[in-house]
Amino acid sequence: MTYKIGWLFPDVLYLHGERGNILALEKAAKAAGIDTEIIKISLEDPSFNPMDFDFLFCPPGEISTFPVIIEYLKPYTDALKTYIDSGHPLLVTGTSICFWGKTITREDGSVIKGLNILNVSAEEKNDVYGDDLYYETTYNHTKMNIFGNQIQMHDLKINDETPFGKVIYGYGNTGHSRNEGVVKNNAIFTHALGPVLVLNPWLTESLIKIMAANKNTPLDHFKLNTDLEAQSLESKLAFIKKKDTTLKTYFELED
């Protein structure tokens, strides 16, 4: 069996080593005995059908590139909604969350109209906030904690959407609440960018299980070896618990 993994516009949305997420998916699928076919989706492709894929990955990019991406995806808005509504997994990271929403207000006041798939709006910040991001979430009925890095170029107002995680440490959507990202069925929109699936193989494992379930070949007992990543996480947690920060932290709630 081969899973088709669609990688949205990798040569335009090319920031922060996100290629690692594709490698992590390939590796996890291989461990589950599943072949993968990685398909790069390009702005030059004459057409795009989301339902052709078992998983879609949308990495972060520069906001200046979003108008051309929105223009390309606009005709496929309903197809993307169907993809999400039918429980297909999607991972959108960093700034790219913005163009799935209603509007992006740029630093100069100009407004970009998004795909309107999420009821969220984004406001570009006039500075950058870079930090670790650590949050708890439940995904595919599994409670897990996610560690990543956040390079925040915007604030995200999520209105009535469901946040993907509850921030334990980090900026999250606005720096002023515990909300992090958005989740819609199995579609994840998170500010934890970079190779987040490398750092959090427990999330990768869940994604593979969802893909398998969608193909009616459940992998209930599939388990990745996560020793190295767990050691990494332990070390980083010790680091963020004692580091200087201007943010409110919620470790006491976790404990």
């Binding site: 516009f9 990798p10 040569d11 335009v12 949305l13 090319y14 920031l15 922060h16 080593g17 996100e18 290629r19 690692g20 594709i22 490698l23 992590a24 590796k27 990685i38 790069k40 390009s42 702005l43 030059e44 990019g61 520069e62 906001i63 200046s64 590139t65 108008p67 051309v68 700034t95 950058v128 870079g130 930090d131 670790d132 890095n149 390079i151 170029m153 960018l193 970079g194 190779p195 490398v198 750092l199 190295l228 990543e229 050691q231 990494s232 070390s235 980083k236 680091f239 963020i240 580091k243 200087d244 920060t245 201007t246 943010l247």
Partner: protein
């Protein structure tokens, strides 16, 4: 009088620093004096802005500034330059206060300033240079710069037709500044034995003009090479003003406009610094190529990225990287990979600790291609550092390295690092890490000797 007080205050501090420690103070006097006159740089007298050049960009600005200053001085020109490396406004105020007379008058043939790309608009506001050289604009320091477009917008915010641009033809964002001025000189490097390609899993980047994907036929260094946008046609020019040809890494020579130069450093990324420096000195300062060729021969780069340490029977080759900067890491990996001898590779990527909040970013390693390294006769890998040592090891595992070939220790203790190096059978040791660890290693060796 505000300016004069600021200037004299700066001079006083400069004198005091010279007495206490000549190594310090590339920034301090300017910083203090600018409290008295925030517009201090604007108030110096006698500067011809057509003789001022800003050298800016992500990588290569220090080396290019060093080389240009060296070449001009060897040609008998009086040059004021911030060679000590402070590349923000206070750094420029410091060097100008050192060089100015008591009433703030300056007298030089050329003013050559390395300038931080993020703060260039603030510097330009006070010192409107009529010449700007852009080395490249790439992913770097994402915690403060976010993405390359953030910097692009900063530098383009004051772009105008009065400025002469010296642009890297082989780097798309640098080259695209041609849209802002009629006065453009292009420099670049021809394909050579170190030119490489990357497999399709490595992303390229967005076209700076239309934001569709760029296609790279090949690279001379990461992100720099022969590119084209299939959507709008934006590409590197086939014929440019200054292009290095016949690059021979064995004999350490290259040619430009039929003049053969010796390379002071046979490294791929230095070729762009050579091309940029020759373009500036020839076009901007009117120095003939034969004179430049002679001046090249005794150039020594200040604060280069490579050092050698001797420890017991080992030769430790230290290679400095800029954190959060995949291009410098890639260059380093490529250099190590080009050594066919058996080797130990020590990777000490660290969390980012430039300013609060410190954070554990090592994701830029996934932008780099480790394949050539893993195929280059590596006896053992050693991943060290705090917090991100395991992630570094994991990056190697993702490239196909067997886990038992990697030693991972979460430490920044140099004794433990040396102890691990001692265990290697090979004498040929490479260490890639930040300057802080190297300084501690150097200090430790001096102590034990």
């Amino acid at each position: 009088m505000k300016f004069e007080f600021a200037l004299w205050y700066a001079k006083l501090i400069n004198t005091a620093i010279t007495i206490i420690d000549k190594e310090r103070g590339s920034n301090l006097s300017g910083e203090k004096a600018m409290h008295l006159d925030p517009q201090m740089v604007e108030h110096f007298k006698g500067i011809d802005y057509s003789k001022v050049i800003f050298i800016t960009g992500t990588n290569g600005k220090s080396s290019t500034t060093n080389l240009v200053t060296h070449l001009l001085r060897k040609s008998g020109k009086k040059v004021i330059s911030n060679l000590e490396g402070a590349n923000l406004l206070p750094g420029i105020a410091t060097i100008l206060s050192k060089e100015a007379s008591l009433n703030g008058t300056l007298n030089a043939d050329y003013y050559i300033f390395e300038t931080d790309e993020r703060y260039l608009p603030l510097i330009y506001k006070q010192l409107p240079a009529e010449n700007i050289l852009i080395t490249n604009l790439q992913k770097d320091q994402v915690q403060r710069n976010g993405d390359p477009d953030f910097i692009y917008r900063k530098i383009s915010s004051f772009a105008n037709n009065k400025i002469y641009y010296y642009l890297n033809n082989d780097e798309p964002r640098s080259k695209s500044f041609e849209q802002f001025s009629d006065k453009v000189i292009y420099y670049g490097v021809d394909q050579n034995e170190k030119t490489f390609t990357k497999d399709a899993t490595y992303p390229t980047e967005a076209c700076p003009k239309c934001h569709h994907a760029l296609t790279f036929k090949n690279y001379n260094i990461d992100g720099v090479g022969d590119y084209k946008c299939k959507h709008c046609g934006f590409s590197n020019k086939a014929v440019i003003n200054y292009e290095l040809h016949d690059i021979d890494y064995t004999n350490k020579t290259f040619s430009i406009k039929n003049t053969v130069f010796n390379m002071p450093y046979a490294l791929p990324y230095m070729q762009y610094n050579y091309a940029a420096a020759i373009a500036l000195c020839n076009h901007f300062a009117g120095i003939e190529l034969p004179a430049l060729k002679t001046a090249f021969d005794d150039f020594t780069n200040i604060g280069g990225r490579f050092e050698i340490l001797k420890y017991k029977n080992k030769t430790i080759k230290y290679m400095r990287i800029k954190q959060e900067n995949p291009d410098t890491l890639q260059s380093t990996l490529d250099i190590i990979a080009s050594d066919p001898e058996s080797k130990m590779v020590c990777l000490g990527l660290y969390p980012l600790m430039d300013f609060v909040p410190f954070y554990t970013n090592s994701f830029y390693a996934f932008d780099c291609n480790f394949k050539a390294l893993t195929e280059s006769n590596v006896e053992r890998y050693f991943c060290f550092s705090t917090q991100v040592a395991y992630d570094t090891a994991n990056r190697l595992i993702y490239e196909g390295v067997e886990q038992d070939k990697i030693t991972t220790i979460e430490t920044s203790d140099v004794k433990k690092i040396f102890s691990e190096i001692e265990k290697a059978q090979t004498k040929n040791i490479y260490i890639v890490t930040w300057l802080d660890t190297f300084d501690k290693m150097e200090k430790y060796l001096k102590e034990v000797e």
